[in-house]
Symmetry: C2
Subunit: 316 residues, 2 copies
């Protein structure tokens, strides 16, 4: 579809977007009314929201609208999975200037739709408004299927720390793009379109995970949240981390430390969880550390000398 948001108008755009995305089996009343109705089978609903702002969380020259859509959905669906829940529906808010190409908005929704399809979720509703900066707000809802939520505060000394999914790939991809390169594609693609291990989240709950978190700020920063919430020390064993040879090659070429990407890179949306020692973990969960009495996060027993995580208002 050619033209811009200004040509199509708010209601025209909403109609075109709604036609693009199925509501899915969990949405009993979809877009078109004042609010949607989503099933919440066990009498509770898991709910989370993220904002993505152009220039901060994505660049239109680095990522396609489709990839921004997949990423926006992924980071919210991963938050639901990190509670041990199965995602059911998204609400999407889109803010864009009148000269935003309509095709960009439609492709964004295609990306949202396809990422939802990975987990069987639908798009229940949302909002479209005008504004100078392209901004995407996503709310994800989910179903705990009768289980207790897996929170950040349940880690206990003696637990093992395990990770499902990828670490450092998105950071490597961002570094590659930042140097003006487009390859190796595996890392660039991982930055543009993360692949969170969604079903590992409910799986971890069934396995008896004592705590869980979506790795979005970086492994050390996010384990720091678990450490603080649980009142424990989390020790990462660097030798257990997967640093692929290709990542080492890229890091060498760019003068970067690949372990830094793995320890502090966000946006891969791996899941980090703690389990009682002796839990029989399936292969997708890689044990990368252990929980101890104390405070903070250590690497091989020592304070990490790398900066952890991001602060979105940091001016440095």
């Amino acid at each position: 579809m050619s033209g811009t948001l200004g040509d199509l108008g708010e209601f025209g755009l909403i109609g075109a977007l709604v036609a693009r995305v199925p509501t899915g089996p969990h949405v009993s009343l979809g877009p078109g009314d004042d609010a949607a109705v989503v099933t919440a089978a066990d009498g509770r609903v898991v709910a989370t929201m993220d904002l993505l702002v152009e220039g901060r969380h994505f660049r239109r020259d680095w990522s396609t609208a489709y990839d921004v859509g997949r990423k926006a959905a992924a980071q919210n669906l991963a938050d639901v999975a990190a509670m041990g829940a199965v995602p059911t529906a998204l609400l999407i808010g889109l803010c864009g200037p009148p000269d935003l190409p309509t095709g960009w908005a439609l492709e964004l929704y295609d990306g949202l739709r396809d990422e939802c399809a990975v987990v069987g979720a639908g798009v229940a509703g949302g909002d479209v408004v005008g504004g100078d900066t392209v901004t995407v707000a996503v709310t994800a809802l989910g179903d705990l299927q009768g289980r207790a939520p897996v929170v950040r505060s349940g880690a206990r000394p003696g637990d093992v720390v395990a990770v499902a999914g990828w670490l450092g790939w998105s950071a490597a991809g961002l570094a590659i793009l930042g140097h003006g390169h487009r390859a190796p594609r595996a890392f660039v693609e991982a930055h543009r379109r993360p692949e969170p291990p969604y079903d590992a989240g409910p799986g971890a709950a069934v396995l008896g995970a004592t705590s869980m978190i979506d790795v979005s700020d970086g492994l050390l920063a996010d384990l720091g949240h678990v450490s603080r919430a649980s009142g424990v020390r989390v020790d990462v064993l660097s030798g257990r981390l997967d640093v692929p040879a290709q990542m080492r090659d890229v890091a060498r070429a760019l003068g970067a430390d690949p372990l830094n990407w793995v320890l502090t890179g966000g946006e891969d949306h791996a899941l980090a969880a703690t389990f009682p020692a002796g839990t029989a973990l399936p292969a997708r969960w890689r044990v990368i550390g252990r929980v101890h009495a104390g405070t903070g996060v250590t690497v091989d027993g020592r304070d990490p000398d790398v900066a952890g995580g991001w602060d979105h208002f940091d001016r440095g």
Copy 2:
């Protein structure tokens, strides 16, 4: 609290904001984890999202942060009420530049908190990110208490059309501010801080409302949504509309048509509903028209010659 978002940092700000807002009785797991858990007693959840963008939906020189918060909450809580549901919780996304005063963000949350308190809802979670334009994303959740949702598509010929709440007050207030005035305060206050008739929403469902909508784009525009969704003509009887003498005075002073404010002014978040003829309506529901076979919205049987509603991308 002095300083700016940049001084406090993302996690510092989140901590200060979360301490500001209670989660309320419907939130079983509040802020601080990857997602919240909200009760959904009847196995469904009503969900809606709106974005508010500085310069489009509010101006920091016309409204205080507190009023923006109340308004942001109000318009979403009213959408939940318009389904016949009781609001349970909000998720709040805040995007702001590093030089946004921390006090502005805190007062915004005070407003959100106080508007939630009107209906017994809490703040379950959200997101805080950096960006050039102050943007507030609000998701509201609600509980249908076992009833069917009241949708836009159920109006039938013979039904009466009734309104609860105020019409045209916010538009009058906006016109006053636009002319550089600050009084009469009743209209300016109505613009800054709408007072939706929340409990009239579930009340209408209990009374047997056949359709309902939150009047946010203007009465004619929103009845147009009901008309299209229901496949009926909606006729408004202008003599039944409440145009207070003070509103007529303001309109005369500004050279405006007060009926235009009442018919097309949005943001008061009145509720418009249709009921079977003969329904005994409490005094808060004012009958303002009737549903007929046909299409479109008429005023006193004729096509209205005023433009209805707003288009957020309209460049005119």
